[in-house]
């Protein structure tokens, strides 16, 4: 199949649904459900009609959209560092997990959004509280997957590493992390989508800027096309993040037979 053929094959259902949606909403003419064409027009006016000096992006893209993206990526990155570091330590210890398991099971069950009021009391409204919400919510999948991956390192590989007298650093970076990498990546992907969710929730509750806040303002002003534009933007961001991470993952794990595409 040609490149275009493959592309068309993958997107035909998506485009079909949008067309049906367009026809249905145009026919219904309901203010709560603006047609996609109206949403697209709103997206253009809201975000893509800026001056050339700003790459045609409007001020709100710089003030709100980039702020939100920054929070997602920073929160996710902090969670990744904490999750992998603690996960490796706990996973390599025979007993540590037994001690902290009840604590983790409890902490994991607390929905991160429920802690937003706590973070608001402890931290500043805005980015610090939002980052705390994201990190607390998304660290668990990374942490638990890392523990799992690190624990599953084959005992024969451990003996091999010892037989070759690998140093502690070579053992951790050269054997444990690569062996755990498939599981770690699975955790990272779950966490990235979760970061997006928590970013929106934290911005809806307490924020000075961001996509979530703008959606809330639009909703309160009965500006439904702008609210829908925010929803579409979040969908696009989630899709892009996942696609990029999948590309990185495929590259990092290209040694796996099922991912291998040849040289």
């Amino acid at each position: 199949m040609s490149w275009f053929g493959k592309f068309a094959y993958r997107w035909v259902v998506f485009v079909g649904i949008v067309v049906v949606w367009q026809l249905a909403t145009a026919a219904a003419d309901d203010p709560f459900f603006p047609p996609p064409s109206t949403i697209a027009n709103t997206i253009y006016h809201l975000w893509l009609s800026g001056p050339g000096s700003q790459l045609f992006l409007t001020d709100t893209v710089y003030d709100d959209v980039f702020a939100s993206i920054g929070r997602i990526l920073l929160g996710w990155a902090i969670a990744a560092v904490i999750g992998v570091a603690i996960g490796v330590l706990l996973g390599r210890s025979r007993t540590a997990m037994d001690y902290v398991n009840p604590l983790f099971a409890f902490a994991r069950s607390v929905p991160s959004p429920a802690l937003v009021p706590v973070f608001l009391v402890l931290l500043d409204i805005g980015t610090p509280a939002q980052l705390a919400t994201i990190v607390f919510g998304v660290v668990w999948p990374i942490l638990m997957n890392t523990v799992d991956g690190v624990r599953s390192v084959d005992p024969i590989k451990e003996e091999t590493a010892r037989a070759f007298r690998l140093s502690r650093g070579q053992w951790l970076l050269g054997v444990v992390l690569p062996a755990a990498a498939p599981k770690i990546f699975a955790g990272l992907r779950v966490s990235l989508s979760l970061s997006l969710v928590l970013m929106v929730i934290s911005e809806l509750v307490a924020s000075r800027n961001g996509i979530g806040l703008q959606m809330l303002i639009a909703q309160r002003a009965f500006d439904y096309p702008a609210m829908w534009a925010g929803i579409v933007l979040l969908g696009v961001l989630g899709y892009l993040f996942n696609t990029v991470l999948l590309m990185v993952e495929n590259r990092a794990l290209s040694w796996q037979p099922e991912r291998h595409t040849g040289h």
Partner: protein, 288 residues
């Protein structure tokens, strides 16, 4: 010939849920430089435990191992191990070349030299062309050759092999046996190889050590006076070979060597548990 390895009074006991399991009893033997010595024993006689205590991977409960005179505490720098299960001992995320190169980091600091040594070791085992491939892209026999190259690349004074050819088919096993004989002749390596295969021990060895049932101890130290030049067809058909293999088989099945005292009566219950564990292990690894 100078003594390379000296094992004296070696014994190891595992603590298990239901008491202690005496894996190896009282093992003493020596290996001279340049020799290829095979240890043959029935399943569950503690062959793997023996190899792991000699390599310093586990500390023996009693006894001592000396590698060219120095007591072994932890894995010595000039010793290399080839494990039975290549698919688990090779690193799947590294190319063949990198697999051989990686452990050299502990002894060779220059990257270029590591690369050169790995390339050379792959050449010894006839895998020059496979350096860029991943282990799973090779057949089982080729993967075990990678593991052998990896062990040889560090130029060890003693090469320990734990049932290295037990996971490949018979045809490949013959090829790998001949490869081992060629490589050790070319590099004058000292090899201690553990196997349960009687024919293999006689075919490969300069000497065969027969291990008794658990707790394993050496019942016989047999010289193999076959010519150095060996061949899968003519050697195995020769009357000397047939005689030796019958002798080893007789000893393994409880036959008494003329001059030695009989081994102590084994704890059969513990032995069964160990056998079951080893069978389970063999099953979980042989399906890869």
């Amino acid at each position: 010939m100078p003594t390379m390895l000296e094992v004296s009074g070696l014994g190891h006991t595992y603590k298990t849920k239901d008491g202690v399991h005496n894996a190896i009893g009282d093992v003493s033997f020596t290996v001279n430089a340049g020799e290829l010595v095979c240890v043959v024993g029935p399943s569950g006689c503690g062959k793997s435990t023996l190899l792991r205590t000699i390599s310093g991977l586990i500390t023996p409960t009693v006894g001592e191992v000396l590698l060219h005179g120095d007591p072994v505490r932890g894995v010595p720098a000039d010793l290399a191990v080839v494990f039975q299960d290549y698919s688990r001992s090779l690193f799947p995320w590294l190319s063949v070349q990198r697999n051989v190169e990686f452990p050299l980091r502990t002894r060779v600091s220059a990257r270029a030299e590591r690369r050169e040594r790995a390339r050379e070791a792959l050449e010894w085992v006839g895998l020059s062309a496979a350096g860029g491939k991943y282990p799973w892209q090779l057949s089982g026999g080729m993967q075990q050759r990678v593991a052998i190259a990896r062990a040889l690349a560090s130029r060890p004074s003693l090469l320990l092999m734990d049932e290295p050819f037990a996971s490949v088919d018979a045809q490949t096993r013959f090829e790998l046996e001949d490869l081992l004989l060629r490589v050790r002749a070319e590099h004058d390596s000292t090899v201690l190889l553990v196997t349960h295969d009687i024919d293999e021990s006689v075919y490969l060895g300069d000497r065969v050590l027969v291990l008794s049932k658990s707790p394993g101890s050496i019942t016989t130290d047999l010289d193999v006076n076959l010519p150095d030049e060996r061949d899968q067809i003519t050697t195995r058909a020769s009357s000397e070979f047939v005689e030796l293999r019958s002798e080893v088989a007789r000893l393994l099945h409880g036959g008494e060597p003329a001059t030695r005292p009989s081994p102590s009566v084994p704890d059969t219950a513990a032995n069964d548990r160990f056998l079951a564990a080893e069978r389970a292990e063999t099953h979980s690894t042989s399906d890869t």
